[in-house]
């Protein structure tokens, strides 16, 4: 699926979508229920692609055919979406996934039951057509990341003009807002003067590092992930890693959910494994907080909940965490039965994170400053 990164022309996209309708139509002509074939989107069907260095869907396919009411409705919805995308391509418009969800109100039996359904279906269509959501003129509602640091982009604004932005000098305290489309037609990476790029899970820690002037002191760019990172966030990190060849570090809480954030950045997310090579930054490093840190720094911690333990167990059977490092971390966490937030470092004062913790952690991976 390496062709996925290559952008398609409008005609190609329309043809690819017609392929979906054709598969159904041909089946019905043969007297069998219409269907759509998709890879199984679960952790049981992702495998490491040696060539690409990321996790991709395996060979397990599921056929969505019209033998149950639910599946038949999904097929009908796919056709409605196909038609809708065609109309948008022809009229040069785009819509958010949420808008599409509301537009589906007029689709009779093909309308969506929930926003989640429309999001999933958009991904289904990407997988089947090997197109990108951006090709479909569908925008996510999701909030892109914020970036602060001495790096420079050029973004094409609404008037169609290229605008140069330095993420340290041309932005306010909230940083540069990453747009939903960070492909080359919209965004160009111009220049940088940093040693590494650090992605931070929580807004509180991002603001702490900004206030402490960590970006200048440590010569880095800071990205606020806002929880599970949006596609555009992961894509821009991938581009910075590729085009600037800078180390990408992830600084998150120490809990099972943060591990998953890292996995989606470094190895590829289960939901978007069809475009992992396009979104995942295999060079990314997990900086902290690690389970060892809880012990080493004697951080204030919380007991693991039932859900946390379930998530950890699930990660132990997730191929992405099937490495010595992660197995050790997960098992250690289960052993001590604790989790800790990034901001628990404040136990030792507001400057502890920038004066002690991060310099020590960076030194460990050879990035002392």
């Amino acid at each position: 699926m390496s062709e996925i990164g290559q952008r398609k022309s409008k005609l190609e996209v329309k043809e690819a979508l017609k392929g979906i309708a054709a598969e159904m139509h041909n089946k019905m002509e043969k007297g069998v229920p219409p269907s759509m074939t998709l890879p199984v989107r679960a952790k049981t069907n992702i495998g490491f692609d040696n060539k690409l260095g990321v996790y991709k869907y395996g060979k397990k396919k599921s056929t969505r055919d019209a033998t149950s009411l639910g599946s038949a409705r999904q097929l009908l919805r796919s056709l409605h979406v196909t038609e809708f995308i065609e109309q948008m391509i022809d009229s040069g418009k785009s819509s958010t996934l949420r808008e599409m969800y509301y537009i589906s109100e007029g689709w009779g039996h093909g309308k969506f039951g929930s926003q989640n359904e429309s999001n999933n279906l958009a991904e289904d269509l990407e997988i089947v057509t090997k197109c990108l959501r951006e090709d479909f003129k569908l925008r996510p509602e999701e909030d892109g990341a914020r970036i602060i640091g001495n790096i420079t982009f050029e973004e094409r604004n609404r008037k169609g003009d290229w605008m140069r932005i330095n993420c340290r000098d041309d932005v306010g305290d909230s940083g540069y807002g990453v747009p939903y489309n960070v492909e080359s037609e919209k965004l160009t990476l111009i220049d940088e003067d940093v040693d590494f790029i650090m992605a931070i899970e929580t807004g509180g820690m991002f603001d702490r590092l900004v206030e402490n002037g960590f970006d200048e002191e440590a010569r880095c760019a800071l990205i606020h992930l806002k929880g599970q990172p949006a596609r555009s966030t992961r894509r821009i990190m991938k581009r910075m890693s590729q085009e600037w060849n800078k180390p990408i570090l992830v600084f998150a809480d120490c809990d099972p959910w943060s591990f998953r954030i890292f996995a989606s950045i470094a190895y590829g997310a289960i939901k978007t494994a069809h475009i992992s090579e396009y979104l995942a930054t295999k060079e990314a490093t997990y900086l902290g907080i690690t389970a060892d840190d809880i012990l080493a720094y004697d951080l204030p911690s919380d007991e693991l909940t039932k859900q946390d333990l379930g998530a950890l167990d699930s990660e132990l059977t997730d191929p992405r965490f099937n490495t010595g490092y992660w197995k050790d971390q997960i098992n250690l966490m289960k052993e001590i039965g604790k989790k800790a937030e990034q901001q628990s470092l404040a136990k030792y004062g507001l400057d502890f994170v920038t004066d002690t913790y991060l310099p020590e952690k960076l030194a460990d991976i050879g990035l002392a400053y």
């Binding site: 017609k18 309708a21 054709a22 159904m24 139509h25 019905m28 002509e29 007297g31 069998v32 229920p33 219409p34 019209a66 033998t67 149950s68 009411l69 038949a72 409705r73 097929l75 009908l76 056709l79 409605h80 196909t82 038609e83 065609e86 009779g108 039996h109 093909g110």
Partner: protein
């Protein structure tokens, strides 16, 4: 105690033991008010309503009048409440009024045994007494009997020392109904003022009347409650759903198995018989000449001894012999079951539900006492799905409202694993949860209660077993209903799929691709790949017919041939008046149609109408089939079981014939027992056989 109104048998004054007589009745009342039902302000009102309504129902039943009972409650100053109860019963003759309302009837041993409501509770005298004690008010009575030209108006108080009524302000006048203004032809009205409290909830007058209306579908009952300012705060009416009065129950003599020493001694003392053999034969049920002789020889008493000369030693021996010698069971026609169909109607008038299943078990005997159990289960509709199910307990048609947890009827419900039958039953303990109500009616000549309060039935294995069997039966019905619901839902989904969604898919792909719409018939066959059957029960309002349509769709690629069989409520009163496809009777209650070959993609409909039923009588049925390949929505018939039904039927026909021949001999005893077994037996066996079907599928 016997229903007092209408000049019905009263318990003889001799029954009141001399010791009790010496205590002032008011003192007795005061001491025992907890089990007389007058221990709290709230309960006193319920008890008073209960005594009045029970009397009205009993009186109407005896006089063969469809009861119309109005209860009115008016809040007065303080805790004072005015209670007015009026019926359209036979009324009470002038001379009997004093006895009915003025005598405290103590002791409850009867020489004649039968099932009456009044057996519980203290009687209407208690109401007169309570009113007098709490407010000093007299009870006003209006009574009109059909043959008199005018009604009697009288006010009653009690002379608590002499245990008799004091009449005052007696007059005769025309009685005009306050609401209609018309003259009342016959009826009884009582009005009194007492200290009491009207409250809503599980234990309330409302709930009592609601429950009463369920087990008395032939009665119309209304309730009006007014606040102090005269504003109506409760206005309820349960209209009769059946015109059928409960049958008049036969009185029977006690059965030796249930007799205690004291009772036996009193019977011996009071007997007019000269010889022990005739004493035994004429005072007990189930004792034939042969059995009487055997009893006497076993207890070493000469047959010619005079009953009055039997000493306590001998009486004890006789009691022992009662348990040893083989006796006929007592006749069971002294019981008045409500009837499963009528319970269904009763439930439907009080509770809006989606499913109702009821069963009347065969009468049985426990320790010489005939009893019969009836069970009903309603599900869905307006019933709340949160919390435990509602339990409706009845003994001899009287609602039991207190001590639910300690009652054998409740325990029987708790002993069933309801999970198996589709109700939530956490831990398999306590009451199940869900949108259901369970009704249990215990009809018996001698209901054993845990205490004098008569609110909870005491444990009895035979009774519990009968209830459990009944519950399992209605439980199976529920399970079947729920299973059918899921099947129906699935079938409906498939129909939507092929009839709505699939054509839309075809239209869309054709439009997107600019190609012609494909022929969907083969696709539909492949998606459905089954034969579907859906039955719909309805009601033809115009012609008063119960209807049933059975639609069969062949969505397979092969032609199919089936015989469809339908379970219908066949009886002497119910017959098929319309039948689209002819067919034939396969067995009692089962009609069969041989269908023409059903081609792929085709469907056919069978339609029948039944006369002799009322709306709501036929709400659930089963469709069976004979032939190759499954039908979704129908059950393959088990030929062996069908054969059994036929055999049972033949057997009962023979028995009936024997019974008719024997009926010329009107002597009580053996024949009567057979009579009951045959008549109800057929029905019972039939039901059990169907339950087997259901279990086979599991």
């Amino acid at each position: 105690m016997g229903g007092p109104s209408g000049g019905i048998k009263m318990v003889d004054a001799r029954d009141i033991s001399s010791k009790q007589k010496q205590i002032a009745v008011s003192e007795f009342f005061e001491k025992n008010k907890h089990f007389l039902g007058f221990d709290s302000l709230q309960r006193s009102l319920i008890t008073a309503v209960k005594e009045a309504v029970d009397n009205s129902l009993d009186a109407c039943e005896e006089a063969r009048i469809l009861p119309e009972i109005k209860v009115e409650i008016n809040r007065l100053k303080g805790d004072d409440i005015e209670l007015i109860s009026q019926d359209n019963g036979p009324g009470i003759p002038r001379d009997a009024i004093e006895n009915v309302f003025g005598k405290f009837l103590l002791g409850s041993r009867f020489h004649a045994i039968r099932q009456t409501r009044g057996q519980q509770g203290i009687g209407i005298t208690g109401v007169v007494m309570y009113s007098q004690l709490t407010t000093g008010a007299k009870t006003r009575v209006v009574s009109k009997i059909k043959n008199d030209s005018s009604a009697v108006f009288v006010e009653l108080g009690l002379d608590t020392r002499k245990n008799k009524a004091i009449k005052s302000k007696e007059r005769r006048d025309v009685w005009l109904d306050e609401n209609t203004g018309k003259e009342v032809i016959h009826g009884l009205k009582i009005a009194t003022i007492m200290k009491a409290k009207y409250q809503r909830g599980k234990q309330s007058v409302f709930q009592y009347l609601r429950m009463t209306s369920i087990v008395n579908p032939h009665a119309t009952i209304s309730l009006i409650v007014r606040d102090r300012d005269g504003e109506i705060i409760e206005d309820a009416k349960w209209i009769r759903t059946s015109e059928r009065l409960p049958r008049v129950v036969e009185e029977i003599k006690p059965h030796p198995h249930g007799i205690q020493l004291g009772t036996l001694q009193r019977m011996l003392r009071e007997s007019e018989e000269k010889r022990m053999t005739s004493f035994l034969r004429h005072n007990f049920s189930g004792v034939s000449m042969r059995a009487a002789k055997e009893l006497l020889s076993s207890s070493e008493i000469e047959e010619i001894r005079n009953p009055k000369r039997i000493n306590s030693e001998d009486a004890k021996k006789l009691i022992e012999a009662f348990q040893k010698v083989k006796l006929l069971p007592p006749p069971t026609d002294c019981l008045s079951p409500i009837d499963d169909l009528l319970i269904k109607k009763g439930l439907s008038k009080a509770i809006d539900s989606r499913f109702a299943s009821t069963v009347t078990r065969l009468p049985t005997v426990s320790q010489g006492n005939p009893f019969q159990v009836e069970v009903g289960l309603v599900f869905g509709g307006d019933l709340s799905a949160d919390g435990p199910i509602e339990v409706l307990r009845f003994a001899n048609r009287v609602p039991l409202m207190y001590q639910q947890g300690g009652c054998a009827l409740t325990k029987a419900i708790e002993s069933i694993n309801w999970k198996q039958y589709g109700l939530d039953h956490p831990g398999g303990k306590g009451l199940p949860k869900g949108a259901a109500a369970v009704l249990i009616h215990l009809a018996s000549t001698n209901v054993q209660f845990t205490s004098e309060a008569k609110e909870a039935v005491s444990d009895n294995e035979e009774v519990s077993n009968e209830i459990r069997k009944g519950l399992l039966e209605v439980g199976r019905g529920l399970k079947n209903h729920l299973k059918k619901n899921t099947q129906r839902k699935k079938a409906r989904e498939k129909f939507e799929l092929v009839n709505v969604i699939l054509p839309e898919i075809a239209k869309k792909t054709s439009k997107i691709l600019g190609r012609e719409e494909p022929d969907l018939a083969p696709v539909i066959t492949q998606i459905m790949n089954a034969v579907f059957c859906e039955e719909e029960l309805g009601w033809d309002k115009e012609r008063k017919l119960a209807t049933c349509s059975i639609q069969i769709f062949n969505y397979t690629a092969r032609a199919r041939a089936y015989t469809i069989l339908l379970k219908w409520p066949e009886s002497d009163m119910v017959s098929i008046v319309e039948n689209s496809n002819g067919g034939r009777k396969e067995a009692r209650g089962i009609w069969a149609w041989r269908l023409d070959t059903l081609n792929p993609g085709s469907s056919t409909t069978i339609h029948i109408s039944l006369s002799g039923l009322s709306k709501g009588d036929w709400t659930d049925t089963d469709v069976f089939f004979r032939g190759n390949g499954d039908i979704i929505g129908a059950t393959k018939i088990d030929e062996k079981i069908l054969e059994e039904i036929r055999k049972t039927e033949a057997l009962s026909a023979v028995r009936k014939e024997i019974h008719e021949v024997n009926n010329i001999d009107t002597d009580v005893g053996e024949e009567k027992v057979i009579h009951v077994v045959t008549e109800n037996g057929t029905n019972q066996e039939k039901i059990d056989i169907f339950s087997k079907f259901e279990e086979d599928e599991v």
